[in-house]
Amino acid sequence: MKAFLHRVIPVVLGLVLCASAGASRRFDAATIERGRYLATASDCIACHTAHHNGAPMAGGLVMSSPVGDIVSTNITPSKRHGIGDYTEQQFADALRKGIRADGQPLYPAMPYVSYAALTDPDVHALYAYFMEGVPAVEKAAPHTSLPFPMNVRMSMKVWNALFLDPQPLARTEGRSAQWLRGRYLAEGAAHCSTCHTPRGALMQEKKELNMAGSQVGQWYAPNITPHPTAGIGSWSEAELAQYLRTGRLEGKSQAAGSMAEAITYSFSHLEQADLDAIAHYIKSLPPVDLGETGTPGAPRFGQGQAGHALGEVRGQGYAAGMAGPQLGAQVYSANCASCHGASGEGTRDGYYPSLFHNSATVGKTNLIAAILLGVDRKTADGHVFMPPFGDQPNALNRLSDKEVAALANYIGVKFGGGDASVKPEDIAVIRQGGPRSPLLTMARVGMAIGVLVLLALAFTIVRRRRGKVGA
């Protein structure tokens, strides 16, 4: 009997301890892991983590938007500085309705219009992950303060009433499970349309032009509809899946800017089946051509050829080259050719891309952004890094607006099948964060007009009353 008790009591005690430990954890490991995968697919980390050693999900990333800078929030389970006190309903409302726990709306820099597609079980799993899978960070993120009147968040309620669809994924018949999964990820968690769909005057996505391309800050998110010349119609589904996993299709394209980030933190970690599903869905979209970039009628992927202008720069001295009419050729040789080749051919092993047969050199914006900001993209295959040439402390060389414009024209003409239409002013726009939206000015002008109208109205009413009294 004694021996029996000696064996049983430790076991019972163990069970009791386990149960009480379990009582302080609300979610099981499998749910938290599913939430982690969904958070990866949704790429929460890319916006909610400050660059250069920011704590994960602790916010503080300043994002340049056409109406001003928006700072991401701390979404770790810190009770003081994060979302530790959020109930699951409050979490779901933030995610799918863009409403904070205090009832204030979020700005649609948070892609809640896409996340509105997330199912309840997936929201539950995400909640589990953010409550118990993310370390709490006890540090407040700075507040966002947009210029007036954008800082009046309540106006977002009107915007949401107009543009937030609580059921963004339409009912559909006869679609495969793969297509449905692809749509759920692409339109929901991966929120592709947030960047790739052009926006209207009130900054709402133009759904009829879904994925047809849009300027996002300093980069242009290109047309990814299956249009044969304006989009990625020339890519197979397998190629698209490979691009999402690695960020590179040799002889076609490579990801930089926010897409490189999305690949580093999100797509490269997804299961192959999910990448295949996204590719399958994207390739099924209606083809659209906005007629915006590159040569009309020619895809942006096979343009240009090798070539050089060494005769313009060799043997005369750098200063003469920089002062002369071949500034672009000189800047290219001095800054770009060591990796991209004297004739734009890249390295023999293809690691450093050729600049012809490269969509980055077709059209202006991404070429300018790549020059000013460089490329930074990490996957399991390695860390791709092109240094920036802007004003950064680590700029390999600080190029002026005039020099970047000359360089972009040289590259665009030599390798991109384009014309020399880049001006120094174009560089300045990208350098300062991208094109500004007229929305802010319009809103202020609109409000000023509104106030004047009210004043005129009030004046008229007062005059009439006086008239009546006087009569």
Partner: protein, 168 residues
């Protein structure tokens, strides 16, 4: 037809500007004359049996008269020797070039294409760097210094055999 004084002065000014401009252009920037360039390129292709860049050739041709005053005559003479021998390659006719200034000039042309310079001296005129043929000879095995050779840490490879010679 008389021209007005004003027009005459304007024309003269334009001509003078062009003359000054011509003189001020970098030595390599002005083609020495298409006919002599074509002749020089023909000579070059006979002496150097590889793909040669006309723009580099124009710059070498620019310097040739400074170092070899009878270059034009010598160019024609060597071409004639090659044609006389019905030469398909430089080995077919080079021995027939008489020793002395003519052969020296032929060696100089070869030197210019392979080294990219006008001489082995420290103040030599530079015609090209990247396009110097010495780098084409070895381009499959070693980098042209200052141009990337491979992706990061991807240059480990077996020893490239001396044969075959790259085609260029």
């Amino acid at each position: 037809m008389t021209i007005s004084k004003r027009r005459f002065l304007l024309g003269a000014a334009t001509l003078s500007a062009a003359w000054v401009g011509w003189g001020a252009m970098p030595a390599w920037g002005f083609a020495a004359g298409t006919e002599s360039n074509a002749s020089f390129m023909q000579l070059s292709r006979l002496l150097v049996n590889h793909q040669l860049d006309d723009a580099v050739g124009a710059r070498i041709a620019q310097t040739a008269p400074l170092l070899h005053p009878r270059w034009s005559e010598m160019t024609r003479a060597i071409i004639a020797i090659a044609i006389g021998r019905q030469a398909q390659a430089v080995e077919d006719f080079f021995e027939a070039i008489p020793e002395g200034p003519l052969r020296d000039y032929a060696h100089w042309v070869i030197f210019a294409w392979y080294s990219g310079c006008a001489s082995p001296k420290k103040d030599a005129q530079v015609f090209t760097y990247e396009q110097a043929l010495t780098y084409r000879v070895t381009g499959d095995a070693v980098a042209i210094p200052s141009y990337g050779f491979s992706g990061p840490n991807l240059w480990h490879r077996p020893i490239t055999p001396l044969s075959p010679m790259p085609v260029f």
